[in-house]
Amino acid sequence: MTVYNKELLEKFYYTMVKIRKFEETVEKYFLDGQIPGFVHLYIGEEAIATGVCASLTNEDYIQSTHRGHGHTIAKGADIKRAMAEIFGKKTGFCKGKGGSMHIADFSVGMLGANGVVGGGFTIATGAALAIKKQKRDNVSVVFFGDGASNRGTFHEALNLASAWKLPVIYVCENNQWASTTPYRTTTSVEDISARAAGYSMPSKIVDGNDVFDVYEGFQEALAHVKAGKGPFFLEAKTYRIKGHFVGDPELYRTKEEVQKVYEENNPITRFEQKVLKDNLLTEADLEAIKNKVENEIKEALEFALNSEYPEPSEIFDDLYV
């Protein structure tokens, strides 16, 4: 059994709570009309990005999705600039050109959210190819949804990665829904990880709402990949607690179904119960972290609110080098 030191446990909690609070803030300000475009929240899935990114450095890469705030934060991006980007401000990571769906922080190896579902598979695979060619000891990770697993890019990327034994880890966030569609009505297999065998790729299923299980599963993936054995497939079973996007009327499922998951399977609550029960952290430890996060979020929000919008003339910047 993995032994967790306090530092790591605090990091888990800090990251998950930071994502949760960040998303709640985004939701509030979106509903208030202050955030443009549309946003997809990571609430309820925090344990996945957290458990995965805990083992990554800035030299490891992640590719994210349209639901990318959690990945960005877990990878260590500055939440001030993340928040500013979502508000469309000049101080954001993309100077306001990207917004929620195109958030990215290359300085920490976060190679971008993607508005095209399934757009990240091949890109992450290529980043792994670069790592291999550069003979570096890093990995490339791509997060993707159950829905994305039906894109042709999934197939081409996984086959290529396996044929070339690339250091890439495919992390499926199976949250049961692709927008309004329950995944089993359009996805022809119960466990998406079952597809890995078709590429001679090992796989593992973890409880995506249990940060410990995600972390341990990811350790196994990392060990495989770092031993030069090629790619690994990790499927994290979870549930999308919020609507597909903020404002989604959610006519396709009952409030009770969602509420039940939120109450019984909330990754943050589960973490709290476990660490307290096993005496790994104290109430005070948790409280301190929550306060820290609260302050950081407040700071980030103020930063975003106080930042300027880009000037119209900036439209022509950053196209060509």
């Binding site: 039906n150 894109r151 927008s179 006519l251 919008y309």
Partner: protein
């Protein structure tokens, strides 16, 4: 006349044609439970059951399987969710759908429609805001329509559904919610016919889709200066209505084309080139093109706003060439 929204107009067209012809069916993402991302399929599943089907997120399979179904005697409709995702199915569109009839010497037809919601909305950013109709002008074998108002939306969709050729139907995301008069009963707008929506003698103003809103605004601004613009709604991009364009330009001696899509390599380039080839001797001024700057669509409101068509600036540029 009764007023209905563009979205309702497409719903009427679908329902009427699906009642007429049971070979028609529709597939796409989130069209059953959600009724389409812009509500453009709302209610159809109630009446038509499994003739409206939710697909996996598999645009190549969506378009490809519609092609196959068309070859096997059906008349499928593929919803692309956003026109931006047509790139995913581009091989199916240009190497299969567009070529099958020709390549196989006319042995078959490919009667299908691709519905592609396009254009800017509100900060949907680079991958959810595009207008890429120009590419399809360069691909023989397709027909392409792009209505600007509810009546044409209904009439062109009906025409597309009855056409035995593959048709791409671009429907603008902002226009969905706009209302306009649509007659009761049959509405049918033939593919390939543009419409002179306002006569004028000083300049021909050509547009289509959401660009028509800008064209009308420009026309009003010009009117203040005593400039009478003739406005043409292209409606069909392939095959575009050469006669209507030429007749108008021969009368007004000036031409400007407006569209939301990127100017370089846009639909305006083809129209301008056509006129410069066929009627340059009638022209008293440069042919002006107005389209988006050569950048992806930015997210932040001030930038996105800068990206949009600007009636003032267009009118200003036109005034300059008329004086």
């Amino acid at each position: 006349m009764r007023q209905i929204t563009f979205s309702q107009a497409t719903l009427e067209a679908m329902a009427e044609e699906m009642r007429r012809d049971e070979r028609i069916f529709v597939i796409g993402e989130d069209i059953v439970r959600q009724g389409g991302i812009f509500g453009q399929f709302k209610g159809l599943p109630d009446e038509f059951g499994d003739r409206i089907m939710d697909t996996p997120i598999s645009e190549t399979a969506i378009v490809g399987s519609c092609i196959g179904a068309a070859l096997a005697g059906m008349r499928p409709v593929a919803d692309m969710h956003f026109a931006d995702f047509m790139g995913v199915a581009m091989d199916e569109i240009f190497n299969q759908m567009a070529k099958i009839r020709y390549m196989f010497g006319g042995q078959t037809t490919v009667p299908m429609v691709i519905r592609a919601p396009d254009g800017l909305s509100l900060s949907a950013a680079a991958q959810h805001s595009q207008s890429i109709e120009a590419w399809f002008m360069n691909i023989p074998g397709l027909k392409v329509v792009s209505p600007s108002n509810p009546e044409d939306a209904k009439g062109l969709l009906k025409a597309a559904l009855r056409d035995d050729n593959p048709v791409i139907y671009f429907e603008n995301k902002i226009l969905y919610r706009e209302s306009g008069p649509v007659p009761d009963g049959e509405v049918f707008v033939p593919i390939g016919k543009a419409k002179v929506v306002k006569e004028g003698k000083d300049i021909t103003l050509i547009s289509y889709s959401i660009g028509m809103k800008t064209a009308y605004e420009v026309e009003k601004l010009l009117e203040k200066d005593g400039i009478e613009a003739e406005i043409i709604d292209l409606r069909t991009l392939v095959p575009y209505d050469r006669d209507t364009i030429l007749n108008s330009v021969k009368k007004t001696h000036r031409l400007a084309i407006v569209h939301e899509a990127v100017k370089q390599g846009g639909v305006g380039s083809e129209i301008a080139a056509f006129v410069a080839e066929e009627a340059i001797e009638y022209l008293d001024a440069p042919i002006l093109r107005f389209g988006a700057p050569f950048t992806p669509v930015p997210f932040s409101p001030p930038l996105e706003n800068e990206y949009r068509m600007k009636p003032n600036k267009i009118a200003e540029a036109i005034r300059k060439v008329i004086k």
